[in-house]
Amino acid sequence: MTSFLFGRIVSMAISLLVASIIIFAILEILPGDPAQFMLGVNAQPDTLQALRTQLGLDQPVILRYFSWMAGMLHGDFGISYTYRSPVTELVLQRVAVSAPLALYALTLTILVAFPAGIIAAARRNSATDLTVMGATQIGVAVPNFWFAIILMWVFAVTLHWFSAGGFAGWNKGFFEGIKSLTLPAIALALPQASILARVMRSSLLDTLGEDYIRTARAKGLSQNKTLWRHAVRNALIPVLTIVGLQFSFLLAGAIIIENVFYLPGLGRLIFQGITQRDLITVKSVVMLLVFAVIFVNFLVEVAYVLIDPRLRHQR
């Protein structure tokens, strides 16, 4: 187990290192002169020079990369050029929206997908199964931002049940905060729930074909008890991996949905950073998101091995 953990940590570190180099290269080297890129062609020479100094452009590229990394390791993400405040501060404010949104969407995903997948597998080839499979086929095909627009049109613009965007803020109370995240969470959850329901169904169908299920039935356990006590529990292992991957996807994938609903989350911060060419903000926030994604994937892999010891000696 220790050697497995060590190996995983090393590979995570390598992934992060390469990821940081790629992000740095895309944002600092590809644009040529980042200061010129940020300010546009009509920039005043002295403003340009000031920004060049702030970005440390007079230093060699390698040095700039290392000082960026060293800063990040100390929790110093630089000063946002458009907001004129530390990126760390901005990130902390935005995480308070993005993380609950991702968790909320993940909860909805699981609440819909697990029952749907289990019922579909338990009643294989029945009308219920066909309905679930048909619905998930459509759910996978629906772009979440379109679903978001439709939700907004029906429940916000027409029925006035929700506001059509923006975030109430947690200081207005938990309920108001959750309420403004509800439509975005539903929009995010639909395609994910469809995928997860399919994974749940096929995983359960696989376990239902195993010998120990037949044994359980043969020793006189009822169909329902076999299903819940043996099949579902074992079927959950591969499903949980997907859940973990979906969480990181929801965190990063919210970038579009946050824009649809004007939610002040990390995705919107990145997107505004891009349109305002605030490379300082974009660089650090993207790196942070990539870190979150890689870290969650790492946790999932470790959890997977903890649940299923057979995997420890593989690879």
């Binding site: 895309i26 027409t158 990539v290």
Partner: protein, 292 residues
């Protein structure tokens, strides 16, 4: 993987065709896909109106005989825009899949041919790394730095197709390298590269076609998402994602502007997914049996 003999006999073709027509999801998917493809092709030679022609007095109209899908806020004909939008979506997604196959398959075949070596390890680790990235995020970064355009959207989506095909073709090729016919080819004096192209590639083609269909549908969704945030094809070229972005503020006045392009995306993606499912069943009847 069912084995395909190097020369596909006529009876085999007929057999495939027969099982294709029996697969309901393939037929449904193929019909949907054909409709979208035809729309895209039609737009090359004919659209009811010039897709960019504005007609402000007739703006925001509903469905009518003159404008089947109504008009938008500039009086442009929505049906014409949908036809041209189909073209944009399909070209971007298709080229992105092409990029994935063109670079990913050779990489995967190479990794399988030199399996176990450092080169194999480097290729596969590289793939893992691209997989670990949140794809949409990086696509947004790339298009942001290089400027928004359909070509940059295509490249950004295509990059993430490379590891998909590399991984798939490596895995499929690995099992083939142990087979007798590959051994025989080796004994006959054929080199690694020649075996990869002449014996391995034809035998993994089915798997690649199925995956290609799925990546195509994902590409359509990704293109729409990029275009929605303004990083896809630029005006006046219509794209479904851009049309949805424009519709958002008008949704209470003219809901059809939001519904029509969305339905177009859903039907395209649904058609491709159904076709992919059907193809998998046709190429490998064993999966169908085990899934039922």
């Amino acid at each position: 993987m069912s084995e395909v003999s190097p020369v596909i006999s006529e009876s085999r073709t007929r057999e495939l065709l027969r099982s294709a027509l029996r697969s309901r999801s393939f037929v449904a998917g193929a019909i949907l896909t054909a409709i979208i493809l035809l729309s895209a092709l039609t737009s090359l030679v004919w659209t009811p109106y010039d897709f960019a022609a504005q007609d402000i007095p007739n703006k925001l109209q509903g469905f009518s005989a003159e404008h089947w899908f109504g008009t938008d806020q500039y009086g442009r004909d929505v049906f014409s825009m949908i036809l041209v939008g189909a073209r944009t979506s399909i070209i971007v997604a298709l080229l992105a899949v092409g990029l994935g196959i063109g670079l990913g398959v050779p990489l995967g075949l190479l990794a399988a041919a030199v399996r176990g070596t450092l080169l194999d390890e480097v290729v596969m680790r590289g793939n893992d790394l691209v997989f670990a990235f949140p794809a949409l995020l990086i696509a947004i970064l790339i298009t942001a730095v290089f400027g928004p355009s359909a070509i940059n959207a295509m490249i950004a989506i295509g990059i993430f197709n490379i590891p998909v095909f590399a991984r798939l073709s490596r895995a499929a090729a690995l099992s083939l390298w142990t087979r007798e016919f590959v051994l025989a080819a080796r004994v006959a004096g054929k080199g690694t590269a020649r075996i990869s192209v002449e014996h391995i590639l034809p035998n993994i083609a089915n798997t690649l076609i199925v995956q290609g269909t799925i990546q195509f549908s994902l590409g359509i969704l990704a293109e729409a998402a990029l275009a929605y945030v303004g990083l896809g094809a630029q005006p006046p070229i219509p794209s479904w994602g851009k049309m949805l972005a424009d519709s958002q503020t008008l949704v209470s006045l003219a809901p059809h502007l939001a519904i029509i392009p969305g339905l177009a995306i859903v039907l395209t993606v649904l058609g491709l997914n159904l076709m992919g499912d059907g193809l998998r069943d046709i190429f490998d009847p064993r999966t169908r049996r085990s899934r039922q």
